[in-house]
């Protein structure tokens, strides 16, 4: 199945520059958020949301067509 990925801040560097943090990837059915982050190479703690809803944990199984947005943890600035 396909899921949409939207990465922000320095996480964009996990994708080629021209993609500006956005891509659609093919993943196995029942893949979790953790699986997808791992496949992208993102191992550090991050903040994420699925379809702009925020109550999922990383074991949540993504559905076809979902959009996973991933943010860095930021403190101040």
């Amino acid at each position: 199945m396909q899921v949409n990925i939207h990465l922000f801040g320095s996480l964009r560097d996990y994708l080629p520059r021209e993609q500006r943090g956005r891509t659609t990837v093919e993943v196995e059915t029942a893949s979790t958020i953790h699986d997808v982050l791992h496949s992208l190479g993102i191992e550090k703690p991050v903040l994420f949301a699925v379809n702009e809803a925020h109550d999922n944990d990383s074991t949540y199984q993504l559905q076809a067509g979902d959009t996973l947005t991933v943010f860095e943890l930021t403190a101040g600035g």
Partner: protein, 660 residues
């Protein structure tokens, strides 16, 4: 006029790091004198904010009007200023604040701070007021007052260009007030480079009340540290720390880079703090740092923005400042006015419900050109928008401007009126708290503490900020302590490792405000307070995510001065500055009753996103306040430092003067 005879800073006969010279200018009498304090004074008052508070306490009589000639405005550096290492070119402006009636305190970077050191001084103390506009030049030790009639009423960049031409020197550095400072707007800033601001607490209004348009500095002396090798070793470590600390990303996207993650965390103040998220992630993305980087930074079209679109402060490798090439409604933006920081785009973006990056960038340019604090100014317009939405003010009041959330054109139109003090803008120019008083309504929508508008980090989702915003002596400030996400179980390991030597071993959820969190708030407040005393940028030096930690602050002070400075000594310097500021406020009549949160924040829950339904509880806040006073050694009932606490940081004389 005074010329320093020994034209070398920090040689064998003098202090290391410091110049040993404090410039005193009395604008009423036009006298200029140089004080050469002994080493004991520097050990006691270090520099920056602490040194400024010393002169404020000593020279400004109790109970003065902040805009009277009796106010004392100090620009103070510290020992590391001007050394070839990142994050040291920072200067504190201190005076009595026109908005809070307590201490005003604001920091700016750029090149001006280092250049003042090169010109021969550790601080400039300004008293009195000129009868006509003047500017002060400090050129290689020689200080002089000049007529400034030809500069009065001009935009900051025009003043920069005129002065550079007059002095026939492009390398002079200029700190100046803009038109808003001349007009005594309570949130007027002092600018340097026309894009770096001593923004908060109204220091520009105080400089304006003195009719001092600018301070021009230039010098060719260099600072001699006690241990040059140690300074260079610290400097060389900088590039190696960029990637592991994440400061490479911070430099790439700038402070504005956090807009999107703030939205993701439910902490992006929207519609005057009614919500922690914009209408959609797409809206936040439209005003985000990623977009600014991709589209608006100079050189973005050719993907050369890292070289052409980022600026820096003297000797800093982080290069976090934005240089924007853009236009708004057919008006071309001048890259010399810089680009928006996070705070500026949040206040002139989400705070006003606006998702227009070009409008936000233009607002930022206008604020820099007129010299006002983007935070207080943008937040004041957001407050007026909420009053308008609720019918408290009408089209008649606003001269026909449809001041609704989300209306970028109305936001810019009202900003222009505010900067020129025209019509309704004249009411807004002294900030939202005074505007509400003047109108006799709208108090329920205020987002202010001690008369100062809140920055764009939300205490609802970073709960220790509720405490820090309330107790901070100069009003709500986001650069006075570390933010909660640095101290959660999920926080990055390097953050936790830096916090551990401060005795902070028990990370907590970002939304709790318990005893551990109070301890985190106070101890990191000392660290930030120390940075403001040592004249250090808090993105480069700090207790968790910054390029260097508190230990490196100690190492830098050792290398600069040759003194034996430990991490504990750094924390004590921060404690001393905080206590002195709090004591000054007590002298001027501020107490625990002033340590409040905006009513709205305690009464209303946020709406939408990850922070939907979140509110700060009265009891939680009050109990944290009491714990904080106990931990800080302040009287719980009054919030005033006790004699024992003042004595513990060498301020017995302050306790004596307060009759404690």
């Amino acid at each position: 006029m005074f010329v320093i005879e020994n034209n070398v800073i920090g040689d064998e006969k003098m202090l290391h790091g410091y110049t040993g010279n404090i410039l005193h200018v009395n604008l009423t009498t036009r006298s200029i004198e140089v004080e050469t304090p002994d080493e004991a004074f520097y050990r006691d008052y270090i520099g920056g904010s602490l040194m400024g508070l010393y002169y404020l306490w000593k020279f400004a009589p109790q109970g003065i009007d902040a805009l009277s000639p009796e106010n004392v405005l100090t620009f103070a550096l510290s020992a590391p200023t001007g050394l070839p290492v990142s994050g040291q070119s920072r200067c504190t402006a201190t005076c009595k604040s026109p908005s809070s009636g307590g201490a005003a305190d604001s920091q700016a970077g750029g090149f001006w701070p280092a250049e003042l050191k090169f010109a021969g001084y550790d601080a400039v103390v300004i008293r009195g007021a000129a009868s006509e506009p003047v500017y002060l030049s400090i050129m290689n030790g020689e200080a002089k007052l000049h007529d400034a009639a030809h500069l009065w009423g001009k935009m900051t960049l025009d003043v920069d260009n005129i002065l550079k031409k007059e002095w026939n020197d492009k390398k002079i550095e200029i700190a100046q007030i803009g038109i808003s400072g001349e007009k005594l707007a309570n949130f007027a800033s002092v600018m340097n480079m026309s894009n770096r601001a001593w923004g908060r607490t109204g220091v520009g209004a105080v400089m304006g009340s003195k009719k001092l348009k600018a301070i021009v500095v230039r010098g060719s002396q260099r600072v001699t540290p006690a241990d040059k090798k140690a300074v260079m070793a610290l400097s060389r470590r900088g590039p190696k720390e960029m990637e592991p600390t994440g400061m490479d990303s911070f430099g790439k996207y700038g402070t504005i880079g956090i807009v999107t993650s703030q939205h993701g965390a439910g902490g992006l103040p929207t519609n005057n703090f009614n919500s922690g998220v914009m209408a959609s992630l797409e809206d936040a993305t439209k005003i985000g740092g990623e977009r600014l980087y991709d589209e608006l930074l100079r050189g973005a079209a050719e993907e050369k923005q890292d070289r052409k679109g980022r600026d820096t402060c003297y000797a800093c490798i982080v290069r976090c400042k934005r240089v924007v090439e853009s236009e708004y409604n057919g008006k071309k933006l001048d890259p010399d006015y810089g680009g928006p920081e996070y705070e500026s785009i949040a206040t002139f973006g989400s705070y006003c419900g606006v998702n227009d990056l070009h409008a936000g960038s233009y607002a930022n340019q206008l604020c820099n050109a007129y010299g006002v604090d983007t935070i207080s100014c943008g937040a004041t317009i957001a407050w007026a928008m909420e009053c308008f939405e609720n019918g408290l003010i009408t089209l008649e009041d606003t001269d026909g401007i449809e001041l609704k959330f989300g209306n970028a054109e109305a936001m810019i139109a009202m900003l222009e009126k505010t900067l020129n003090r025209e019509g309704f803008g004249d009411i807004l120019a002294d900030g939202s708290a005074k505007a509400a008083d003047r109108l006799g309504k709208g108090h329920e929508y205020l987002i202010t503490i001690k008369g100062q508008e809140l920055p764009a980090h939300m205490p609802q989702v970073k709960r220790s900020l509720a405490l820090i915003y309330a107790v901070n002596p100069f009003g709500a400030d986001h650069q006075s302590a570390e933010h909660d996400p640095a101290y959660t179980p999920k926080s990055y390991d390097n953050n936790k490792a830096r916090l551990a030597p401060l005795g902070l071993h028990k990370p907590q959820d970002a939304r709790v405000l318990n005893a551990e969190k109070v301890e985190f708030a106070l101890k990191t407040q000392y660290a930030f307070s120390a940075a403001d005393t040592l004249g250090l940028c808090q993105f480069v030096y700090g207790p968790s995510w910054q390029l260097y930690g508190v230990q490196e602050m100690a190492d830098l002070m050792c290398a600069a001065t040759g003194w034996d400075v430990t991490l504990e000594a750094i924390q004590d310097m921060g404690k001393k500055r905080l206590n002195m500021m709090r004591a000054y406020n007590a002298r001027e009549g501020l107490q625990r009753d002033d340590d409040t949160l905006p009513e709205k924040m305690l009464e209303k829950a946020l709406v939408g996103g990850r922070s939907d339904g979140v509110r700060i509880e009265h009891e939680e806040f009050e109990s944290a306040l009491t714990m904080y006073f106990e931990q800080a050694g302040w009287d719980v009932a009054s919030g005033i430092p006790t004699r024992a606490t003042l004595a513990s940081v060498g301020l017995e004389w302050v306790a004596d003067e307060l009759s404690l």
